[in-house]
Amino acid sequence: MATTATPLPGGQRPNIPSAAVRFPAIKTYDQVDREIAGTLGPSLGWFGALGIAILCMLIGATAWTYQIHEGLGAAGYQPPVMWGVYIVTFVFWVGIGHAGTLISAILYLFRAGFRTSIYRASEAMTVFAVMTAGLFPILHLGRPWKFFWLIPYPNWRLIWPNPKSPLVWDVFAILTYLTISSTFLYIGLIPDIAILRDREKNPIRKAILSQLSLGWRNSDREWRHFTRAYLFLAAFATPLVLSVHSVVSFDFAMALTPGWHATIFPPYFVAGAIFSGIGMVFTIAIPLRKAFKLEHYITLNDLDAAAKLCLFTSSVVGLAYLTEFQVAWMSGNRFEQDYFWNRVFGQWAWAAWIMLICNVVLPLSLWSQKLRRNPAWLFILSLFINLGMWFERFVIVVPSLSHEFEPWQWGTYRPTWVDYSILLGSFGWFFMWFLLFIKQLPVMAMAEIKEVILPPMRRRRDFSHDLTQGVVDPDETGATH
């Protein structure tokens, strides 16, 4: 007898939960809690890393103390190059910060899925990067003990800072950025802190955590407020991504110096900042997922997506470079042209080409998906990007100053051990904070990951009974209910 078409019993639309795609290997809430909370608590390797970081930090601190005592001449300044490694490194670190905010805030507003697993790390990176950057403006002063004169406060001299000076704008920009991003980081942390609190045995730590969690009880009302606050801060932080680095770029764009005096600087700097930031995210996230065995959280898809962003910003930066040359060429401005020629083919060629190769040429490899999905390559590339972006700032600051209007005052620049030690120190300082962070607080937002995977159903057993009826078994698709 002829068989007839048989409908699927139950008349239910088959479902593939998104979690199956995002985190195929993450099944349950307690798995998340277990695995991520498991990354906390010190380990031998961690102590080693922290030790190195602190050592570098101390080297930098010593060099700075010496520099304050001896005078700024201890550094390699060589008039007319009055700004050097310190300002270069300052811009470098501010730049690093930006990717964090981009990922945690902008991508949040765009609901970009791949941010979930990496945003906590990058947000932390932002805060610490800005903390590092903030040191340098003070550190490069001739009389650092007078830095507070840049802050407007009521004083008996009856004088204020100069509102026309980009350096004063910097003070505001950096402080705002630090405040907002640290608040943003903390707000996002609250639910996770609550989780840790509940898991914590040690009474003292428990007390601290419960203080920090502001008595979070996971109540519906709290979540409603939380999401509002988080959304608001995301919206608030978004413009900062653009404004802060624009202001930083004004330090140069507002000046008369050939090579600085360019309208293209703000967008150029912002793009560069995000580019360098993504680079740093790779540098941090890839070892992290390996060390903490979190490959199934920071999946290849996430890296792939981030790599695309990296490729995009790299090409924006490349465009900016070209534009600079084109402007110089078409301006017909003798000073400008001389300078750019000297930059690429003259005394500074070596620096300029390091910059171009690291920032424009190498990232082209990301057109290949194989490499985009190859963590090892991404990590290596990210190191090159960091190097390249540091040199971008170097090329902007130093050659411009060394080759200005007055031929009689043309010069060169040779940093000393003091500059290098303080540069090293800044990395030590940054990683010290970051390492301390990842062992105290979850490096990944548990709560947000849980938002992605399916909540545990109260009536799980009910499902399993009609497997026979050919319901697509989530387990076969590798997904979880």
Partner: protein
């Protein structure tokens, strides 16, 4: 008066220390700041008001020209030297070396007391002891009756002292002293004497139609350079009928660089040319002999014939020196120069009675033969000046009693066994006759810097006083010296006596003549010459006295060490000039260490490729390479103790550079003078290279129109303002039209509604920025013009500025960081960290490919803060440390500066300088004014501390002083009532300062000159410094090289 006990004396010299103190104190206690003590006078001296300057006229002794000085003293200390405006020689101008006399006075390495060398070790003795030892020594020699064999070598000076000295020597039966001046040109003097009967007729460049110099560097150190420079500048600044200037010689010195045309003959070629021009010998023969272009020579000959009178000078120092000088004299006579451009009627008496090298060598030989019983040295340093070949040291060692009257350690003094330090000329009495018929007086402008160590001798005596004391100890001689001291002697000898002297002292001048020494004609010594042709080596070795360090006397004065050589711009180092073409051929780069070898010795020094030296020659300056390093008892200013210190020639000169005398044979020419260009040398690369401490970035202006010039011919064409090369117009420029009056377009709203709000104007009162404001600042606009047609690049302005504004020198080897940092003299200069507020840029024009050619032009540009009306540095300072004052000054407030250095980044002229180290802090090793150098610091100017920016302030302290005076006298400032330090010192009167907003000031008129231009006008900075284009006088047909 009020002073700090801890630092008796100059106030405001520990700027940052105090800043440190304030913050520290606050951090610590909050309310109690250590304010020190107030130490009153015991008896307040008359004629001085504490905190108000007193001025004394005296005479400069740095070279034999004897210029007039006005010494500014404050609270009993000389703090600044200016030229004496009434003085017939220098008319108020003063050269860098004259300015630096102060650092001789306050030199930290000066001997504090007499010393005796016993068993190879020096030990301090009292003044009484020293004088006793001296007189005993002399008595012994007389006893042994060998007094006739005594030798007294004195640094040549004019005035009464030489005669006094001879009388003294004669009293003890000693022969007259040798008055030695290594910088004097024996050949010229001899030729002058033979032709005009005087040693040095005064020269008039003004009256010359053409000036030709055979290696006579009248702007460097040949003759009396200040008056020569004044006159030369006046002549050249005449816009029509200014004389052309042709320079003939193998090396283009500073003088040569000021010439319109350079005829680069090879060393020794001058004679042929001179003869040809004098009509002896044919032009083409001369051209071939001298290796120069015949056409050029022909042109010169015709030009000389056409333009009479000419002024032709000879400063050749080869073996043929005298012949050239005589030939030149012939040319002058032929062109009717005598009495017009050369005035034997008014001779510069400073050049009379100079004993030349041959006599000195004669004395040395007598020493070697053991005929010399006692030798005195005062101010001269033969051990350094005489070539190694002469073995001076050995000969000198044969003299039993060797007395030095030098106040500083030097090579010769070290070889002596008794040191009785002389007083500095600013501490002692004296006189001079700079020009016949005028007596220039020299009076002490302050008490001796160092106290005496004797109860019976209350004040440290000068040499003359010591001699008198010695004489008094000897019954036979005492009668000749009745006067108690040299001062009394002078008064006695002065026409009109004490009365007249007292009347003359305020001006420092008196009419009258000083009887000259009666000198037996010096025994003719046969010239010892080895013909340069016979010597080995591929290059002629040209050696010349440095225009700044002279024959080496200036070497321990940091100002002079730091002052970049006007030609090469190198400081704190020796160098070897070699032509770029040759350098390229030998593969030599700037800074490569070369080894120069002659029959007499070898030296190693960095190479400096220089367009202005003949391609077959290398040139080395004298002045550095002092090596004396005997352990001298040295007074430590910190601990106020006397300790054994290795000072050598002094801390600033020690182990620095090379001494070119090591290379030379002992040669004297027919006139008995030393032969500077005496040998050939071979050059080889050593492979090492060191960064030359030079302030030069790029020697070309890359068409940026910083130093502009105009041809004399174009000048009087209509629209000459735009004459010369116009710098290329940049798109988007503001109008290039010259902006007269220089009112700052931003001053009006620079500080917004700053004024005190009153009900009437609702706070719209612009206060200080309102022109009719009672405080009357806004109505002025301080400005400066610099005439490049006058500027010769001599760099005197830099030293004047250093002295006035407490600018630290940074080149000494200990002034760098401590840990893992280069401890090399001039290191900070190689890092571009020089601090001088005004610098002299030297740009070359033409001959871009560096091939050997004679047609390149040099332009000197004094570059200082332009006090822009629309200053790029002002808006970028985060703390208002630099801002625009209503009177147009661009002000730097040191104590507000936090040191971001943004202002410097944004300054197109790069005239802001940063205190990289604690140059101004007493307790730091980088301190630039070790006791007692700091006595010279100007109390009116803050000494800048570590980490602050500083720059030219247009001598704001002088502006305030003038304003104060005017206000107290209830009057307005008078036009040209005062001027700034650089303008005051300038020996060519190139700089004019004043209020450009008031048409009655000279500067306001000059600012509207048709040659006027602003540097980087296209940047809209509205600079307050206006340059007047240089004027070129190219040879007929030739055009001035373009940038």
């Amino acid at each position: 008066m009020s002073q700090d006990t801890k630092k008796p004396g100059v106030k405001r010299r520990e700027f940052l220390k105090v800043l440190g103190a304030t913050s520290a104190a606050v951090a610590a206690a909050g309310c109690s700041e250590e304010t020190g003590k107030l130490i009153p006078y015991l008896v307040s001296p008359d004629q001085t008001v504490p905190g108000v300057s007193t001025y004394y006229a005296t005479t400069c002794r740095e070279c034999s020209a004897a210029c007039g000085l006005i010494a500014e003293t404050r609270d009993g200390r000389a703090i600044k030297l200016e030229g004496n405006p009434d003085h017939p020689v220098n008319h108020g101008a003063l050269c860098a070396r004259g300015q630096s006399a102060l650092q001789g006075l306050y030199n930290p390495d000066r001997f504090r007391s007499p010393m005796v060398n016993e068993g190879g070790a020096w030990k301090v003795i009292t003044w009484d002891d020293a004088i006793t030892r001296l007189s005993q020594g002399i008595t012994q020699t007389r006893g042994a009756n060998r007094a006739g064999g005594a030798v007294f070598i004195n640094q040549h000076e004019s005035g009464s002292f030489p005669r006094f000295l001879d009388t003294w020597l004669a009293g003890f039966g000693m022969p007259p002293h040798l008055s030695v001046d290594f910088e004097s040109d024996a050949a010229a003097i001899e030729a002058n004497r033979r032709t005009y009967g005087v040693a040095w007729p005064s020269l008039s460049f003004k009256d010359a139609k053409i000036i030709v110099s055979f290696g006579a560097d009248f702007l460097d150190s040949w003759g009396a350079n200040v008056p020569q420079q004044l006159d030369f500048a006046d002549a050249r600044a005449r816009l029509d009928g200014a004389p052309r200037f042709v320079y003939i010689g193998p090396r283009r010195s500073l003088t040569g660089l000021n010439a319109d045309e350079w005829i680069a003959c090879k060393p020794g070629g001058e004679l042929a040319i001179a003869n040809a021009l004098a009509g002896k010998g044919s032009i083409q023969q001369a051209a071939t002999d001298a290796g120069v272009d015949q056409a050029a020579l022909q042109a010169l000959a015709t030009e000389l014939a056409a333009n009479k009178p000419a002024l032709v000078l000879s400063g050749v120092s080869g073996e043929s020196a005298l012949d050239v000088a005589l030939a030149v004299a012939a040319i002058n006579q032929a062109s009717g120069a005598v009495g017009v451009t050369i005035k034997p009627a008014q001779p510069l008496t400073g050049f009379e009675g100079i004993a030349h090298t041959d006599q000195l060598l004669g004395a040395v030989e007598r020493m070697r033969a053991g005929q010399v019983s006692v030798a005195f040295v005062r101010g001269v340093n033969p051990a350094y000046h005489l070539p190694k070949a002469s073995n001076f040291a050995d000969a000198f060692a044969k003299v039993p009693l060797r007395v030095s009257f030098s106040s500083f350690p030097d090579e010769t003094t070290e070889l002596c066994n008794l040191i009785i330090p002389d007083l500095h000329s600013l501490e002692s009495w004296g006189d001079a006759e700079p020009i016949r018929g005028t007596i220039a007086l020299q009076q002490p402008v302050m008490d001796p810097v160092f106290p005496t160590n004797s109860k019976t001798i209350p004040v440290a005596p000068g040499t003359a006083d010591v001699l008198i004391q010695v004489a008094k100890k000897d019954a036979t001689v005492a009668s000749k010296f009745g006067a108690p001291d040299y001062r009394a002697t002078l008064i006695a000898g002065f026409p009109g006596g004490a009365q007249a002297l007292g009347a003359a002292l305020p001006k420092g001048l008196a009419a009258g003549t000083i009887p000259a020494r009666t000198l037996a004609a010096a025994p003719a010594v046969a010239p010892k010459t080895t013909s340069i042709a016979s010597t080995q080596g591929e290059f002629f070795l040209i050696t010349y006295p440095s225009p700044l360090l002279g024959d080496g006397r200036g070497a321990n004065k940091p100002w002079l060490q730091e002052l970049p050589d006007p030609v090469t711009k190198v400081s704190w180092s020796s160098w070897i000039e070699i032509h770029p073409e040759t350098a390229q051929r030998l593969g030599i780069d700037r800074g490569d260490i070369l080894e120069v070898k002659t029959a007499n010795g070898t030296v190693r020094a960095p190479a400096f490729p220089y367009l202005g030296v003949h391609k077959d020659a290398i040139a080395i300056p004298f002045g550095r390479g002092h090596r004396a390093a005997h352990a001298m008892p040295m007074f430590d200013p910190k601990t106020h103790t006397v300790g054994e210190v290795q000072w050598g020639y002094g801390r600033y000169a020690r182990d620095l550079g090379i001494n070119a005398f090591d290379l030379l044979p002992v040669g004297t020419h027919a006139a008995g003078g030393f032969i500077w260009t005496a040998t050939k040398a071979s050059v080889s690369k050593t492979g090492d290279n060191e960064a030359l401490p030079s302030t030069e970035g790029s020697a070309r202006q890359h068409g940026r129109g910083i130093a502009q010039a105009v041809n004399a011919a174009d000048l009087n064409k209509p629209g000459a303002g735009e004459g010369g090369e116009a710098k290329e117009a940049l798109p988007g420029d503001a109008s290039h039209a010259f902006l007269p009056g220089l009112r700052s377009p931003v001053a009006a709203d620079a500080q917004g509604d700053l004024g005190a709000p009153t009900a009437a104007d609702q706070g719209k009162n612009k206060g200080l920025y309102r022109e009719d404001d009672i405080r009357g600042m806004a109505k002025r606009r301080w400005a400066m013009t610099i005439d490049l047609a006058r500027c010769t690049g001599c760099s005197a302005c830099i030293t004047a500025c250093n002295a006035e504004n407490n600018v630290p020198t940074v080149g000494a080897f200990w002034q760098n960081a401590t840990i893992y940092a280069d401890q090399k003299p001039g290191f900070n200069i190689t890092r571009g960290r020089e601090m001088t507020w005004i610098r002299l840029e030297r740009y070359f024009e033409g001959n871009p490919d560096g091939k050997f050619g004679q047609d390149f032009e040099t332009r000197f540009v004094p570059m200082l803060c332009q006090h822009c009306g629309n200053a790029p540095c002002e808006p970028v300072c985060p703390v208002y440390a630099t801002y625009h004052a209503p009177d147009g000054l661009n002000v730097q407030v040191y104590n507000r500066c936090v040191g971001t250095r943004y202002c410097s980044n944004n300054c197109p002229y790069k005239v802001r300088y940063f205190n990289w180290f604690g140059y101004g802090e007493v307790d730091r090793k980088q301190y630039a004014f070790p006791e007692p150098l700091n006595w010279q610091l100007n109390p009116d100017v803050t000494v800048r501390g570590k980490g602050v920016m500083e720059k030219c302030s247009f001598c704001v302290q002088r502006i305030r002083e003038a304003e104060n005076r005017a206000t107290l006298e209830h009057r307005e400032l008078q036009p040209d009532e005062f001027t700034v330090a650089c303008a005051q010192g300038c020996p060519s009167r190139a700089i004019t300062f004043g209020d450009a907003a008031d048409p009655n000031w000279t500067v306001a008129q000059l600012a509207n000159d048709k040659r006027a231009y602003h540097v980087f006008e296209e940047l809209n900075t509205y600079t307050a410094v206006v340059y007047l284009k240089k004027v070129n006088h190219p040879a007929a047909g030739a055009t001035a090289p373009r940038a």
